[in-house]
Amino acid sequence: MAAASFPGAVKGLVSAKARLSEPLRGGSRSLLVLYPRRGGMALVASATPLELSEKVAESIKNAEETCAGDAASGECAAAWDEVEELSAAASHARDKLKANSDPLDNYCNDNPETDECRTYED
């Protein structure tokens, strides 16, 4: 796997592009991000915007606390539903970041017929 640091790193994160295992038809690239964590760096697949990420972690803690009291209550279900909603929002945000991150990809989506964007598959 090749790791490279690109100019314009976002919020102190070093992003590396690598081709994971076998490429899908059409070629797909995944964004691997080195995320600063306690105890060193952790390799995470794509970064969620910080505030959403914190919201998710907070809601999980909140849900665990609420359900510790009464696991069958409506409040417990509502709390975990909130976790699900925020996780979905975080996942969408990650996809949005990924979708907009590569200028070449963006250009080729709009202009697939140009020379830079031609793909050859054997």
């Binding site: 899908l24 038809r25 059409g26 797909s28 995470v44 697949a45 794509s46 969620t48 959403l52 990420s53 998710v56 972690a57 907070e58 999980i60 803690k61 849900a63 665990e64 359900c67 209550s73 409506g74 409040e75 417990c76 279900a77 509502a78 709390a79 975990w80 539903d81 909130e82 976790v83 699900e84 909603e85 996780s87 979905a88 929002a89 975080a90 996942s91 969408h92 945000a93 996809d95």
Partner: protein
């Protein structure tokens, strides 16, 4: 011949520009609009000669950005994007022909409200079905509406956005078929049924990278939502014209990764303007393994099944695919043996799948059947348009 509604609201109805575009897939639209103002009272009458076609999609995966939506809008041509210049957290997607509305926008309780009452978003008490019915009916009749926005990031209800009647309206969310009045407005309905094991595997993939989540929290989240899901969302399956059921594969024993899937396309018989697809001989039962002498597949291969069944006391036809596609020729081989696909040319399904080869499910039945359902909806839409043209021609003669 045209249905007109007189609207004397303080704001005037939006007027869509008559578009006479030819779309890449070759179907033409003439959106005829008659606008006249009555003297004295300031009222605008917007009459549309074509009623909007409404499609309902029930899915648990959040709104408008799902793969199914992107495939569907792609079949109709053009990419669907959030409305320009509006709320950046809007859930709506708009393309040339299609507008996709997220039913979460009809939440009557925002996140705090739900927490206080102790209800999940799945509970009907958290949703305003009267408003949903009113607005979908209005759009179907050609009247623009101010639809509320539910902001998934903040959990609040934002100020409304204007939705102009498109040619095709897709309502996507948890409860498109829950309310019987809304159900009657739908020209076609689809239910995406993900089995528990596959849901678990997908949520693990989605959430494990998230700080704070663990296997236990993901499991707890699914378990806690299950009672409401089974009570309110799951029963909608029986009303759907097409159900896409995603199950774990039977080809790999004890597979828990959810990478190879068994996908069943369950199609209701006798639905107007919808001819179910079939394998080889309509109405018979077929078990088919395409891999053999003409086609070589890699492990675990591909297995098809086709047959008539009963689903919630409805007559249905089921086409099932277990396995995954590795190569282009597998896909085209399978396409050439399926019938009633409503494609406009040989290889259209394969072409659509290739166009979005980076979407999840592009190498298995989920992508295949979502694409096929998209083509069926396009066919349904064109039939409606043709019927209207014939009706107006007949009316003109009289």
């Amino acid at each position: 011949m045209a249905s007109c509604t007189i609207h004397t609201a303080p704001y005037s109805c939006s007027i869509s520009r008559p578009a006479a575009k030819a779309f890449s897939l070759g179907f033409h639209q003439r959106h005829q609009q008659l606008i006249f103002f009555s003297s004295g009272r300031r009222s605008a009458v917007v009459c549309s000669a074509e009623k909007t076609v409404v499609i309902g999609l029930a899915a648990d995966s959040g709104c408008g950005k799902s793969t199914f939506m992107r495939r569907l809008t792609s079949v109709f041509g053009g990419a669907a994007e959030p409305p320009r210049g509006g709320n950046p957290d809007s859930n709506t997607l708009i393309s040339d022909t299609t507008t996709v509305i997220c039913l979460d926008d009809y939440h009557s309780l925002d996140r705090t409200g739900r927490k206080e009452k102790g209800v999940t978003a799945l509970d009907p008490r958290a949703n305003d079905f009267d408003l949903m019915y009113e607005q979908v009916k209005a759009i179907k009749d050609g009247v623009a509406v101010e639809k509320p926005i539910y902001n998934h990031v903040t959990g609040l209800l934002d100020p409304p956005e204007l939705i102009k009647p498109p040619k095709i309206l897709v309502i996507e969310g948890l409860h498109p078929m829950y309310d019987s009045r809304v159900r009657d407005l739908l020209d076609f309905s689809i239910y995406l049924d993900i089995s528990n094991e596959v849901k678990f595997a997908w949520k693990i993939q989605r959430d494990m990278a998230e700080r704070g989540h663990s296997l236990e929290s993901i499991k707890a989240s699914i378990e806690a939502r299950k009672p409401d899901f089974d009570a309110y969302i799951d029963p909608q399956k029986q009303y759907a014209d097409a159900v896409i059921e995603v199950l774990p594969t039977q080809l790999i024993p004890d597979d828990d990764e959810g990478k190879v899937l068994r996908v069943r396309l369950i199609m209701k018989e006798g639905v107007k303007r919808f001819a179910p697809i079939y394998l080889f001989d309509e109405g018979s039962t077929i078990s088919w393994i395409p891999c053999g002498r003409k086609l070589t597949c890699s492990y675990p291969g591909i297995k098809f099944f086709y047959g008539p069944e009963t689903y919630f006391s409805n007559e249905v036809s089921v086409v099932e695919m277990d396995g995954k596609f590795d190569r282009l020729d597998e896909l085209i081989y399978v396409e050439s043996h399926l019938s009633n696909l409503s494609t406009k040319f040989y290889g259209e399904v394969t072409q659509q799948m290739l166009k979005h080869s980076d979407f999840p499910g592009s190498n298995n039945g989920t992508g295949l059947f979502q694409t096929i359902v998209g083509l069926k909806i396009r066919d349904l839409y064109e039939q409606i348009v043709a019927e209207r043209a014939a009706a107006s021609a007949a009316a003109a003669k009289v």
